[in-house]
């Protein structure tokens, strides 16, 4: 199983820790975890770090998760990196907006490590 470099984007530092722990509990071997507290910070982080996976909240100040997903293709090294949304916004319209913008998965908070595994492992494909 390959080691995974992940970017976790959430305005809550507690939630970033929980997402990281859930990834480990899901059996994903993390090599490196980069954190950002909003979409704008995440775009900057991607210019300085290469990652294999992005997990992103939607409701964040400065730049929300949907706008981040729309803009992420502007960072060359992030093209093709799978994005999974992790959010309290559970409406169908949010899911459609996120998937249309390019997200590959959608997890509703509250979530279990099993749900993280179910949605993240398939999008990592041959990387693990």
């Amino acid at each position: 199983m390959g080691k995974i470099r992940a970017l976790i984007v959430d305005d809550s530092s507690v939630m970033r820790k929980i997402v990281e722990r859930s990834l480990r509990q899901a059996g994903i071997d993390l090599d490196k975890v980069v954190e950002a507290s909003n979409g704008a910070e995440a775009l900057v982080a991607l210019q300085n770090n290469t990652v294999d996976l992005i997990l992103c909240d939607i409701n964040m100040p400065v730049m929300d998760g949907l706008e981040f997903v729309r803009q992420v293709h502007t960072v060359e090294s992030a093209k093709g990196v799978p994005i999974v949304m992790i959010t309290t916004e559970g409406s169908e319209s949010h899911v459609v907006q996120a998937l249309t913008a390019g997200a590959r998965g959608y997890i509703r908070k509250p979530f279990t490590a099993d749900q993280v595994k179910e949605h993240v492992v398939p999008v990592l494909g041959s990387k693990i």
Partner: protein, 160 residues
């Protein structure tokens, strides 16, 4: 509790309180590993040392608050993180996220409401010497849960 006796507000309160309670139970069980049940005849009143709040706007307009004492708020953070919280800021962050997830889980359970209702970023007040005056003038509902023997109040106040 609201004293508003209009049919609509009573109807909301009667129908939505069990949904709010279920939303709280699910968040506590999944995120804290703790099974909580609403107190049917609450003997305890939650202190307001930590009050997390989140605004709802759109088809459902109002404010949801989660209130508890400081020791309980630290315990919530400990259960979420699997470790002792290192600062009051981290505890506030944890309680704010619990409030956020309860609000999201609640609106996701209301058929149709989730499509047209937005949540604000949560805020947290620490310290008990304050009064909260919501301008939401509709019905309100409150449930008290015992988490590790301490009361946690979850209150939803809606704009009529």
């Amino acid at each position: 509790m609201s004293t508003d006796t209009s049919f609509i507000t009573r109807s909301h309160e009667e129908n939505w309180l069990p949904i709010l309670q279920l939303a709280v139970e699910e968040v506590f069980e999944i995120m804290l590993g703790s099974r909580v049940k609403p107190e049917t005849l609450p003997e305890h009143e939650a202190s307001g040392e930590f009050t997390a709040m989140i605004g709802l706007a759109g088809s459902l307009c109002g404010i949801l608050t989660v209130r508890c004492d400081g020791k309980t708020a630290f315990q919530v953070a400990k259960c979420m993180l699997g470790d002792t919280a290192k600062s009051e800021e981290e505890v506030a962050d944890a309680l704010g996220e619990i409030c956020n997830m309860i609000a999201g889980n609640f609106k996701n359970k209301l058929a149709g409401a989730d499509e047209r209702c937005m949540l604000s970023v949560p805020s947290v007040i620490t310290g008990g010497e304050y009064s909260l005056h919501s301008l939401a003038d509709g019905s309100s509902m409150e449930a008290i849960f015992l988490f590790e023997d301490a009361p946690v109040s979850v209150r939803l106040q809606l704009q009529s």
